[in-house]
Homo-oligomer: 211 residues x 2
């Protein structure tokens, strides 16, 4: 069920696996089902059942004819393939509303993500606590990242602070940056970056209203 | 340049058009360019240049050989096709950190989105103001939606409140719902829903950290 050694999973596949994971959990539409069919998953997610079967085959899960896929097996395989087992520590840069909202979002705990520290350039916020974590000065990024063993950073700072903060985080050893700042950032190839553009969703809704 | 009468643009196309729009604006990498090539756009967005040309052709924009695409023409065509011209009024359900962060996100103003009211079930918040707007009781959804002529709603409430709130919003005349609540909602076919699953991005980063 491991994907070690095989070719890396593409971004689109990872996103679909995360969608399957969300609807297969006990909080999903089939909390008591032992087996779920690819058609059920596809119907729930407005997708194609063949795509679902292909994605599951990629991580080594195969269904039983006329029975479907074992829900427990799918959950375990996705956890293992994506890396949701174990705990990851993350720091949040920007102790504003968005940083706080992200830190408080309960869904991340299920992914093993634990927020361990905040950073803010506002001296008035440094020393306070947010979502149970201390807010540090941006200048303390090297020390705090080292002390907390964080390997993921969530950027919620203003656009102009995004690149300097990313540089400091990478120098401190951060290996993945989740960027909610409204500016693209450049990092070395070994560091993963995901730029979240919340406004993309807005375009779809405005298009619908226009028609 | 209008798409009226043609087949509707698919979600993936709308998302890509929104990405082109973001990088073509004056805040993008070519603020002074009169012409930008599909290869430049594709390079900046880590995409394929043929895809860029196909998407632009869909909304009636064609480039000039050896010159590229007029930046002004692309911006105008995307604004017109997606419906970014004019103002849309939105209400936000949930006057918490996420609702506040969304209301304060400056990027939306550029899309013509104006937040006009908040709703919250917490009586202690009702009557206060958030991001310059009044916080109303959830029971006042029908009256406030009518009075503000809002046609878009942003859901940032807890999972269990999402469906009852969606029902009230749809009954009040809301035609598009942007759902940030961690629960899927069911609405009539004429109402557009976009479920934002922020955790999908997390899966990609955790996968990178795992390897």
């Amino acid at each position: 069920m491991s994907t070690t050694g095989s070719s890396p999973l593409k971004r689109a596949v990872l996103e679909r696996l995360a969608r399957y994971y969300m609807c297969l959990r006990d909080t999903g539409p089939w909390p008591d089902a032992e087996f779920v069919s690819s058609a059920q998953i596809a119907g729930h997610l407005d997708m194609n059942a063949t795509q679902v079967r292909k994605d599951l085959a990629l991580i080594g899960v195969r269904g039983r004819p006329h029975v479907g896929f074992s829900r427990g097996e799918m959950l375990a395989a996705i956890r293992s393939a994506v890396g949701l087992n174990g705990e990851r520590r993350a720091v949040v840069v920007g102790a504003g509303r968005l940083g706080g909202a992200i830190a408080e979002y309960s869904g991340f705990r299920e992914y093993g993500l634990r927020i361990v520290a905040f950073f803010d350039s506002d001296a008035g916020k440094v020393g306070s606590t947010m979502a149970g974590c201390q807010v540090h000065a941006v200048a303390d990024i090297p020390r705090v990242v080292r002390e907390t063993s964080a390997d993921l950073a969530i950027l919620t700072c203003p656009a102009e602070a995004a690149q300097p903060c990313a540089n400091a985080l990478v120098a401190a050893g951060i290996r993945a940056i989740w960027n909610f700042a409204p500016a693209a950032i450049a990092v070395p190839p070994a560091v993963a970056v995901r730029n979240e553009h919340i406004s993309l969703g807005l375009a779809e809704l405005l298009y619908h209203l226009r028609r």
